[in-house]
Symmetry: D3
Subunit: 244 residues, 6 copies
Amino acid sequence: MRPSGRQPDQMRPITIETGFAHHAEGSALIRVGGTEVLCTASVENRVPPFLRGKGTGWVTAEYGMLPRATHTRGNREAAKGKQSGRTQEIQRLIGRSLRAVTDLDALGEMSITLDCDVLNADGGTRCASITGAWVALRLALGKLVATNVLPRLPLRGQVAAVSCGLTTEGAVLDLDYVEDSSASADTNFVLTADRRIVEIQGTAESAPFTEDAFDNLFALARKGVTELFEAQMAAVEAVEKKRI
Amino acid sequence: MRPSGRQPDQMRPITIETGFAHHAEGSALIRVGGTEVLCTASVENRVPPFLRGKGTGWVTAEYGMLPRATHTRGNREAAKGKQSGRTQEIQRLIGRSLRAVTDLDALGEMSITLDCDVLNADGGTRCASITGAWVALRLALGKLVATNVLPRLPLRGQVAAVSCGLTTEGAVLDLDYVEDSSASADTNFVLTADRRIVEIQGTAESAPFTEDAFDNLFALARKGVTELFEAQMAAVEAVEKKRI
Amino acid sequence: MRPSGRQPDQMRPITIETGFAHHAEGSALIRVGGTEVLCTASVENRVPPFLRGKGTGWVTAEYGMLPRATHTRGNREAAKGKQSGRTQEIQRLIGRSLRAVTDLDALGEMSITLDCDVLNADGGTRCASITGAWVALRLALGKLVATNVLPRLPLRGQVAAVSCGLTTEGAVLDLDYVEDSSASADTNFVLTADRRIVEIQGTAESAPFTEDAFDNLFALARKGVTELFEAQMAAVEAVEKKRI
Amino acid sequence: MRPSGRQPDQMRPITIETGFAHHAEGSALIRVGGTEVLCTASVENRVPPFLRGKGTGWVTAEYGMLPRATHTRGNREAAKGKQSGRTQEIQRLIGRSLRAVTDLDALGEMSITLDCDVLNADGGTRCASITGAWVALRLALGKLVATNVLPRLPLRGQVAAVSCGLTTEGAVLDLDYVEDSSASADTNFVLTADRRIVEIQGTAESAPFTEDAFDNLFALARKGVTELFEAQMAAVEAVEKKRI
Amino acid sequence: MRPSGRQPDQMRPITIETGFAHHAEGSALIRVGGTEVLCTASVENRVPPFLRGKGTGWVTAEYGMLPRATHTRGNREAAKGKQSGRTQEIQRLIGRSLRAVTDLDALGEMSITLDCDVLNADGGTRCASITGAWVALRLALGKLVATNVLPRLPLRGQVAAVSCGLTTEGAVLDLDYVEDSSASADTNFVLTADRRIVEIQGTAESAPFTEDAFDNLFALARKGVTELFEAQMAAVEAVEKKRI
Amino acid sequence: MRPSGRQPDQMRPITIETGFAHHAEGSALIRVGGTEVLCTASVENRVPPFLRGKGTGWVTAEYGMLPRATHTRGNREAAKGKQSGRTQEIQRLIGRSLRAVTDLDALGEMSITLDCDVLNADGGTRCASITGAWVALRLALGKLVATNVLPRLPLRGQVAAVSCGLTTEGAVLDLDYVEDSSASADTNFVLTADRRIVEIQGTAESAPFTEDAFDNLFALARKGVTELFEAQMAAVEAVEKKRI
C-alpha cells in the first residue's frame, strides 16, 4: 500500500483558491494534498530586450520556496546570493509550459510573469506550480479582455502537470514527498486538455527503466491531469461568474 | 480624515492564524489590515560559530517579500543575487527585537530562525513581522517545553511593534501603504508588555520634527501595542489549549 | 529534404578521439558532425560532504562552452560571474545520466567529475556530452581497475544520448543547429545499451505535439543510439588493447 | 567612573580638518576622540534614474571602514564581494540624515555623494560620519554657490549626531568602543541645530529599558550635539574666510 | 641538465594549427611542447561604451583554462562565480600586448575579442596565448581585408612572447611546468619582430636577482621569439595561400 | 619641460608618517607628491590553509582606493561586489614584492597582511604602496622582536618601487597622473637596497619601445629608489629611537 493509503491511480485532494494575492492581475493558491503553491500573474507593458519592436509578447516564470516550506529549513536563496540549479530548471520548465499554450502574437508587446512560491511542500511542487500558474495566467488574461485591453483570450488551450513514479508499489500517480524520495524513477508530464504533450521529463533516479514502465506512467498521468483540468476550470468559472 | 476612514488612534483589524506552515515548530500568519506576513520558527540543534561551546543559544530572523506582494511587481531578491539594504535592515531589526526578550542562556545551544515572508503588503510589514514572529517563537518554545527539551519557557516577556507617523491628519497610528508613502515622519516602536522599550526608530522622511510630535507618536504606539499583545496571547492560548 | 541532405533517420558522422587531454584519468573528444565536445574524467579520493563516511562514491558533471564555439560569440560565464540556467540544467542532466549506470557503492569513497567542454557547437551538445562522458568515465574506471585500485568496473552498462525533433520534414534524428532552431518539438533521449531509459526530455518549442509524434521520435532515438554505442565501444577497445 | 575618566555628560575632544581629500568638492576629516572618519562630497551633474527629468537633486552616502581601522583586522568588503548588513544600514542612515536638511528641489538635477571612510575606529563611527559629512556637503554646496552654479545654499539647516547609552555608570554621552561593547542600551540621535529630530535609533542590546531612561539619553544627546554644531561651523567658517 | 633534456637556450617544439574553431573569424591552436591553447578572434561591429563615436576600434582578450588542463583538476571559474586574480592579470596582459601592435584607428569602430582557452597546460600558457592570439588576430584581419571591409591590415607588426627563468641550471629559455614551479625567478618577454619591447614582466619568486641575470634572460628571450615569429608566419601564409 | 616643472630624473617630495593607524602593529602614511597611501601591517597567529603545519609564515597584501581619491569619483569596489582586475594585479604585486625580502621560515606560522589604501591619488600608487608597506612591515616585525615573539628580524633587506616612463620629454622618473595618462611606455621597478631586482613591469602603452629606452628607464629607477630607501630608514629609525 502507498504511504498515504491512496490507490496507485489516485490523485491527492485538489483545491484552487483565487484572489489570495491582493494586488496581482491573477492569482491562484493551489493545494494538491500537503503541497501549497501561491501562483501570481503580473502584467507589464513591456517585453524583454530581445523582443522589443517585434509586436509579440512574452510569458515567463519564477519559482521559489519559502525556507521552511519543507521538513527541515532550507537556506534562503536571496541570502545565499544565487538560485540553485534546481530552481532555475523548474522556473524554465514553468515558463516553457505556459508559453506553449499562449498565443504570444495575439498578446502583443506585453509581458506576463508567473511567480510560483511554495508555501508548503509535500512533493510535486513543480507540477502544482504549472497547474496553478495556468489559472493565474488565465485570470490575468481574462481581466485584460474584460477591460478591453485585448479583444480575445490569447490562449490556445489548457495545460496542467502531474508527476508519476516507479515505487515499490509499482507505477503510481501524483507522488508525495515520501514516495518521491524513494522512487526509482520520477516522471513529470505537462499535458494539454486536447490530449497533446507540452513537456515530458522522465528520470531514472537509481536504475534505468523499461519502455513498458514508461507507458504505464504516461497512462496514469493522462488520468491525473483530467482532474486537474476540471479543478482549473471550476476556479476560473467561479471568478468569471462574479465578474458578471 | 485618514484615507481608510480610521480615527488617528485606530489600529487596522488584526488576526493571527497559527499552523499555516505545516512543518515549522511554530508558525503565525499575521494579518494587520491588508498586510499579511507568514512567520515561521525553525529550531536547530546548533549555534553559529561565534557561540559554539558557550552554552548559550541564538535567535535570528530573515525577511522576504514575495515579488507580487506589492502593487507593482518587485524583482525577486534571489534572482538579483543579493538582499537589498532595506531587507537586511529589517531582518536585523526583527532578530534584535526577539533576542531582547529571549533568555538565550536558558535556551542552551540551540538556534531559532524566524522567517518572516510578506505574502501581501499594505504598509507596516516590519512591525507585523515582529509581532507575528513573537507568536511563532513562543509556540516553538512551548513545544520544546511540552516535549521536555526545555524545563521552562526561556522568554522574558512579550514584544510587539507598531508604526506611527506624521501625516496631513497629524500624528496617526498604524500607517497603511498610502499613509506611509506620504508621511513626513515615520516611526517604529518595538515595545514590551511590561511597558519597556526594545527598539525605537524615528525617521524624518522630508522634514525634521519636534520633540512634542515625537511624544505624541510614542503615546499612540503605546496604545496600539496593547491590542497586539492581546491578539498574540489569544493566538497562543488557542494553540496551548488544543495541546491539552 | 533536411538542410544537411541527410535522411530523416540518419545520424551525422561520429568520431571519438581518446587521450586528447594529457592529464585526465580518462578523456574523449567526441565529434558528432560539427559538434565537438572534450570530455574529461577526473578521479579524486574524496566525496562531497553529504556522502562522507557512507562508503559510497559520487559521479558528477560540469558543462561549459567556449565563448566562440558558436556562430556569434557568447559571453564567458566565468566573466559574467554565474552559470546560466541552461548550463546548470545540462550539467545536472549529464551527472544524473552517468550516475544511473554507475555502481556508486562499488566505486567506494571516490568522486569522478566529468567536465564536458564544447569546443565547436552545431546542435546536440548535451547529447554528445553524455555520450563522450561515458567513454571518459569508462576509461578512468578501466585505469582504476588496471592499477588495482578497484577489483572490477563499477559500471552497470553503457549510456548514450541523442536528440530528435519535429521539423517541417517531420520527425528527424540527430538535429543540427539549423534544425534545432526551427523545430516545433525537441526531445532528448538518454538510453542504455540494454534498451532501457535513463532520461527522456521532450519539449514543445512552439506547439504541443501528439503521442504518436512522440512515439516516432522515440523510435528514431533507439536507432540512433545504436550507432553511438558502437562508436563508444570501438574507442574504449582501442585504448584497452594498447594497455595490454 | 567611565573607562576614559570622562563625566557622564562629557563629549570626547572634537576636531574637524578640511581639505584632507585633494580632489573632492568638499571634505572633512573628523576626529571624535580616537574615531577618525574621512568624509568627502562628490558632485555629479546627473541624478539616479528614478529622478531623471524631475528637476530635483539627490544626496546619497556610502560608508566603509579600512580593514585595520579596528583592534583586530576585519575582512575587506570589496574582497568578500559584498557590503555587510551593518554597512548598508549605516550608509542608508547617513544619506537620509543629510537629505532631511537639504532642499533637493533647490539643488536641481545634480547628485552629491558623501563617502564616509573610517580610518580609525573607537566607537561612534556612524555619528561621526553624519557630523563630518554635513561639513563636506556644506563646503561642496558653498563651492557651487561661489562658482555661481547655484544662486544660494540649498540647505535647510545643520545636522549632527551623537550616541548615548546605558552602562554600569548609568546614562552616558558619546560612547567609546569599550563602553559601546558593554552598554545594555545604545541610542543614536540625529538632531538639527534648531532643536528638531531627524532620526532616532534606540536599541536594547540585552535588556529592554524604561521611558525615563530614554528621556535621560535624549537630554544628554541634546547637550552633545551643541558642541558638534560649534565644531562644524568653525570648520566651515575657516574655509569660507580663506575663499574671500 | 634540464628535466626535459633540453639545452638552456632550446625552445620546445612549436606547432600552430589554424581553423580548429569552425565559426571564429580567425583561430589558432598553438602547441608549445605539452601546452596547448585554442585562440579565437571574434569580430564585432561595435566598440565598448568609452570608445563610441570616436572612430577608433578595440582589441581585447579573455583567458580561461579547462578545469582538467592541469595535473590535478582546478575549480571551474564559471562555477566559482569569479575569475581569479591570475586569470584577470593574464587576460589584461594579452589584450595590451595585441593592442600595442594594432592600428586601432585604422581598424575603425569594430572590436576584436581574442579568447585564449588552455586545453592542456605545461607551463608558459600566457606566452603561448599571446603568440597564438596574434595569429588568430592576423587571420581575422586578413579576412576583413579579403572581404573588402578594410582597405589594408591595421597591424603595425608581429608580436610573440616567451618565458625565461633562473633555475638550478642557470638561465633557461621556455620554462615548462616542472621548471616553472621551482625557478627562483620567472620572466615573460613580449617582443616584436622589429626587436622592440611590448611588455616585460620579471618576478623574483623567492630571491631578488641581479641585473646581469636579467640581461641573460633577455638575451634568451630574444632568441626564443625568433622561432615563434617564424611559426606564426608559416601558419598565416598557409592560410593566405589557400585563400588564393 | 615636465608638467610639474621637475627635472627628468627628479623625484617628487617624499614623506613617511608612522603611527597614523592607531591599532595596526605597524603603519606608514606615505606621501609621494600628491599621492598618499595609508599602509598598515596586521599580524595574525595563523597561516592560510596551504601552509598549515609547515612551520613557515606568510606575507600578503590588499589594495584599495577611496572612491574620491581621484579627480572624478570612482565606484566603490565593495558596492560593486568585486575587485577590479587592476586592483587584484596591484595587490598581488605588493604581496610578491614583500615576500621576496622576507624570510618566511624565520617568521614562523604567522601571517602579516599589508593593507594599502590610497587616500589621495596622483600617479604611482602601486609604487608608493610597496615602499610604504615595507615600512609598515618592518615596524610590525620590529615590534615582534621587541616583545620577544621573534629572536631577530626575518627580513632579507629593503625593497622600494618607483615608476618611470617615456613621455614627450623623453625618459622621466616618478610619473605623476598627468604624465602617466599620456606616457607611451610605463615601467615599474621594484628594487632592493643591495641593487637587486624584485620585480620589473614594463608596458608599451601605445607603441613598442627599444632596448635602449628600457635601459634609460632602468637607470632612472635605480636613482629614484635611493631616495626612497633613505626615507624608509629615516622613518623606521625615528620609531625605533622612541622605543628605547
